[in-house]
Amino acid sequence: MKRFSNYLALQFKRTAKTFIMVLAVTLILLTAAGAVGITVAASQNSGEFSKKVTVGIIGDDDDPLLDLGFSLLEQMESVKLIIGFVHYPDESSALRDLRASKIDSYALLPENFSDSLISGDNYSIHYVMPKIGTGINEVLTREILGVISNYVVETQAGVTAMIDYAGEQGLSSEKMNVLNLDMSLAYTNLIARRDSIAEITEIGFVSSLSAAGYFLSGFSIFFLLLWGVCSCTYMASSNCFLPKLLYSRGYKSLLQIICEYLPYLAAAFLMLIIVLGGAAVISGFVDFNIPELYYLLPRDYFIMAFKLIPVLFIITSFQFLLYELASGIINALMLQLIMAVLLGYAGGCFYPIYFFPETVQRLADFLPAGIAFNYFSGILTESLRTRDVAFALGGGVVFLALSAAQRQFKIKGREDQQ
């Protein structure tokens, strides 16, 4: 017991000596992250994952039917949120702006496009977009254009079928022209009233996160994952001399690991208290606009820090294992960064987990980021499940046990393998 307390006390002292630097880095990181967050929030017209897609339209500006079509489109709420239209006189100017990233894509309407709609000939719209890394804009645009295309085709089908049928029934062309226009208006009216199909009820957040709450959780977990990197200068070990000497004097691997891990956890906890304390103070002046935080009093932020200990436990024990696995600063940093980014992605820190296939969603429940996320969201929504607690604590214990096994392996390993 004396050995344990001796080594533990020294490790606490060591952590305390480096904590100021780590805290300074953490606060810089948090400030940078906050700035990025504000920039992201400010630049997101749709308030979510993609900025509004600007689509260049190349077609006959004077065509009243096209004008009517576009004004109808601009009334569609989903279109309004996702797409903005800009008119171009020709394709070359649109292409120039596309290359300069002034617009995101353009649609080339063929000549006599509106005539072709009336006559029932399907002249295709040529939609040109750049291939870029973020597929999400493209997917949303494709979905919306699919919807628009559906309205156009079905409307045309209705009008053309009626005209063909009326022709078959021997109606005069004058009468058919009148019916054509009248029926087109009936369809336009139907599209404009399409939302009468549904009655929408918003129930708010019972036991799951709001979008803003989700962002907060994802951001917090990724921040904690990256926090491991801040500690690299004192956590990354390049040799195993001290563990070997300690081992020869009866300090077993598990004891060494516990003594080194506890101060690391304590530092993370202290950092969390400082960060949440800051948030509590700021909450007095700024509305975070996160429904889950609406009713929190400043003292609730401190209580939350204690409630979040299992989240810290699973994340920090995972980081600790990574430091144990990698020898030297270059490997330790690379491993921390790779794991933070890839596991953060798979754990739902960047995109909501429900975006992912079922398999990934199930897998995420067992990844450190996913476990921490479930626990964190459980705390925010006050719907913490026993399973979330068990996974967070159990996962942490497993990572510490693995760290001890790795320490043992390093101690017993060949000299030249270190």
């Binding site: 001796n6 020294l10 480096t18 004192y234 040799n239 001399f241 001290l242 020869s248 101690i411 000299e415």
Partner: protein, 227 residues
């Protein structure tokens, strides 16, 4: 039976890494108050042998002290054996004093700083200096003091004087002499001619096998055998 009659016997130490056998039935014995040197080429298994004796690595064989196999009694081994590894087993962010507190109680630290091993190695002169600001020699001296804090009967030194300045080397040699005079046994691996001169027995480790070498101060002859 008096302490002087007791033997230290190392019997059939074996160690393999995969298919490669590093130590083949290594056996030797020595008395307390004596010093034995293990010499051999780099990678011949000297460090492995010492770390097995220290209990850091697992290996087959026996390590008898006073008739008791220390390999089977790790607790006793940790109280009897002091192991000085090649590198510096120190916490970089802390001062020399903090590092010593891991191994010495505050009272003993004070006593040793004034009269004992801490003063002997000159560590008392830089107790407040953080390890990362120390020179190689300071780190080595501090490492040795940490390793022998339990006042061991048997000291295992793995190239303790490598890459040190002349003053430091002299301090280590003085320490070896004092250990011998205090009836302690020292097993060291070394490439240093003057350290060899202090040893009562010199063993040559080659191809995993240990054999006694009649070292007479002729280093050229020793080098020929090591090759």
């Amino acid at each position: 039976m008096s302490e002087n009659d007791m033997d230290i016997r190392i019997v059939n130490i074996q160690k393999s890494f995969g298919r490669k056998t590093v130590l083949k039935d290594v056996s030797f014995d020595m008395d307390l108050g004596s010093c034995a040197a293990i010499v051999g080429a780099n990678g011949s298994g000297k460090s492995t042998l010492l770390s097995i004796l220290a209990g850091v690595q697992r290996g087959n064989g026996s390590f008898f002290y006073a008739g008791e196999d220390l390999m089977k009694n790790p607790k006793k081994r940790s109280s009897l054996v002091g192991y000085i590894p090649q590198g510096a087993p120190l916490i970089q962010e802390l001062s020399a004093r903090d590092n010593l507190l891991l191994w010495f109680s505050p009272d003993r630290l004070k006593y040793e700083s004034e009269h004992g091993v801490i003063k002997q190695f000159g560590v008392d002169e830089f107790l407040k200096v953080p390890v990362r600001k120390m020179s190689g020699g300071m780190k080595k001296r501090l490492s040795i003091v940490c390793a022998v804090a339990n006042d061991p009967k048997i000291i295992l030194m793995d190239e303790a004087a490598a890459a040190l300045d002349l003053v430091c080397k002299q301090v280590i040699r003085d320490y070896i002499r004092s250990c011998k005079s205090q009836n302690k046994a020292i097993i060291l691996s070394t490439h240093d001619e003057r350290e060899l001169a202090l040893c009562d027995k010199v063993y040559l480790l080659k191809g995993g096998e240990l054999s006694q070498f009649g070292y007479d101060g002729n280093i050229d002859k020793l080098v020929e055998h090591i090759k």
